[in-house]
């Protein structure tokens, strides 16, 4: 089938698929971001068990393939009497993994903070949580906008895991499988999805650059 034919017949479905991919990406990245910050705070906290747990989290989820995690969530959790919807399973898998990378980028961002500023904060009577909230995390975030932008794109690509479970509406990768079981879309069906992924990534990259320019810390 040609691009025109595909779009004529499946145009609506592509739109829904694109929206699903966007939705999964937005939710997963937001969750990853929050988890990443929490894990990072744990990793630098004065409490040893928290530090160990934080490091452990990163080691686990940085090194596990998304598909393996999804299989665990879909097939293993029910044995523990935890049955999540397919959507939630995909969302969880695509949030837990980027969260580990988010924490790594924040740790790298923290290394750019001059130790003197931490001392100044201590000398002003700030406690650990004030220091983290007011000095450390804000500066780490500002100096990690570009890696975070890349992480957002990577998260979007990871949401293709959704194609491995039955979802309605499905995502940009799932739609290709759907079309190819109902008709002969071939590579063209995938091409349309690829263009939509790329276009989204380009927009994300542009916005990331804009934010980076605004947020970057003068030194």
């Amino acid at each position: 089938m040609s691009v025109q034919e595909l779009l004529a017949e499946y145009g609506d479905k592509y739109v829904l698929a694109l929206l699903t991919t966007w939705k999964l990406t937005a939710l997963a990245f937001s969750a990853a971001f929050v988890i990443g910050i929490v894990v990072t705070v744990m990793r630098v906290s004065p409490v040893k068990p928290l530090r160990v747990a934080g490091d452990f989290y990163v080691q686990i989820f940085r090194n596990i393939p998304g598909a393996a995690l999804l299989i665990v969530l879909v097939y293993a959790l029910p044995y523990l009497n935890v049955v999540l919807s397919y959507f939630t399973c995909v969302l969880t898998a695509t949030a837990l993994i980027p969260a580990a990378f988010c924490s790594e980028y924040l740790m790298a961002g923290m290394n750019t903070i001059a130790l003197g500023q931490i001392e100044a904060a201590r000398a002003l009577g700030m406690n650990f949580s004030q220091m983290i909230r007011l000095i450390v995390i804000p500066q780490a975030l500002r100096s990690s906008v570009l890696p975070m932008t890349n992480l957002l794109v990577a998260t979007m690509l990871t949401t293709a895991l959704a194609s491995q479970v039955p979802l309605n509406p499905t995502d940009l990768t799932g739609i290709v499988a759907h079309i190819n079981t109902h008709a002969v879309g071939g590579v063209t069906a995938f091409l349309i999805s690829a263009v939509l992924y790329c276009a989204t990534a380009v927009v994300i990259g542009q916005i990331g650059n804009l934010i980076d320019r605004k947020a970057r810390i003068l030194r």
């Binding site: 009577g125 007011l134 810390i217």
Partner: protein, 258 residues
């Protein structure tokens, strides 16, 4: 009777703001502070001088426990300072600190640098903190820079902001660790002038510096340190004219040569 009256006067008016008792501090094997005792009274300006590596910075940083100590006691305005916890933070908030490298918060503008701790640590209403901050910035001569970030200011301006940031906490004393050593020569005086004014207004100050003219003019007392000990403690007149120890004489000669 008269004697008793006088003693009472001494106790109430001149109880020390900072008291160090027998402080010992090691960096590994290296004994950096050797049984240091020091008392700083309200309104006093104590200038600490001595050769490089003698422990001046360590002493200064020990006063608000930015450095841990191995033994001894630190008492701030009558209250023993614990090694950690909320009480420590509270006492630290009462002692300002100005560093050689300014250490302003790089992501915040100048005004926010000054109001952050009063708002967050002292829970001062933001509006009041802003008004006070602008007053302080004016006092140190950088009010026109309030909306800029630290990197846009000269070193001298940054250091004056750092002084304003310390003052914003209404500190009982301010510690200065070589506040002008990182500055270009033409900016040194603008910072020393602010410090001289503070001293004249009665601020209690401990100043580590190599600026001997400042020490002579402003200090009530000179502390001469060498190798982790206080070797001499005297008025500037006495210390500079009649240093008692050979080490102090050598030190003064060595800086005269420069």
């Amino acid at each position: 009777m008269v004697q008793a009256e006088e003693n009472k006067e001494v106790l109430t008016e001149q109880s020390p703001i900072i008291e160090l008792r027998n402080i010992d501090k090691y960096f590994g094997e290296h004994h950096v502070l050797k049984g240091i005792s020091l008392t700083v009274k309200k309104g006093e300006v104590v200038v600490v001088i001595g050769p490089s590596g003698s422990g001046k910075s360590t002493l200064c940083r020990t006063i608000n426990r930015l450095e841990t100590i191995d033994s001894g006691e630190i008492i701030i305005d009558g209250v023993p300072m614990p090694g950690e916890g909320r009480k420590l933070a509270q006492l630290r908030a009462q002692i300002g600190m100005v560093f050689q490298s300014f250490n302003l918060f790089a992501h915040k503008n100048i005004l926010d640098n000054v109001i952050m701790a009063p708002v967050e640590v002292l829970h001062m209403p933001k509006q009041q903190a802003k008004e006070e901050a602008l007053q302080l910035l004016k006092r140190v001569g950088v009010e026109s820079q309030a909306a800029k970030v630290p990197a846009q200011l000269s070193g001298g301006q940054q250091q004056r902001v750092a002084i304003a940031r310390a003052l914003a906490m209404h500190p009982k004393a301010i510690l200065f660790d070589e506040p002008t050593s990182a500055l270009d020569p033409e900016m040194i005086n603008e910072v020393l002038d602010v410090m001289t004014e503070l001293a004249a207004e009665g601020m209690t100050m401990v100043v580590v510096t190599h600026e001997m003219n400042f020490a002579r003019r402003v200090a009530d007392r000179i502390i001469f340190m060498d190798d982790g000990s206080i070797l001499e403690e005297n008025t500037p007149e006495e210390f500079f004219e009649h240093p008692k120890t050979q080490r102090a004489q050598d030190f003064l000669n060595s800086i005269k040569e420069h």
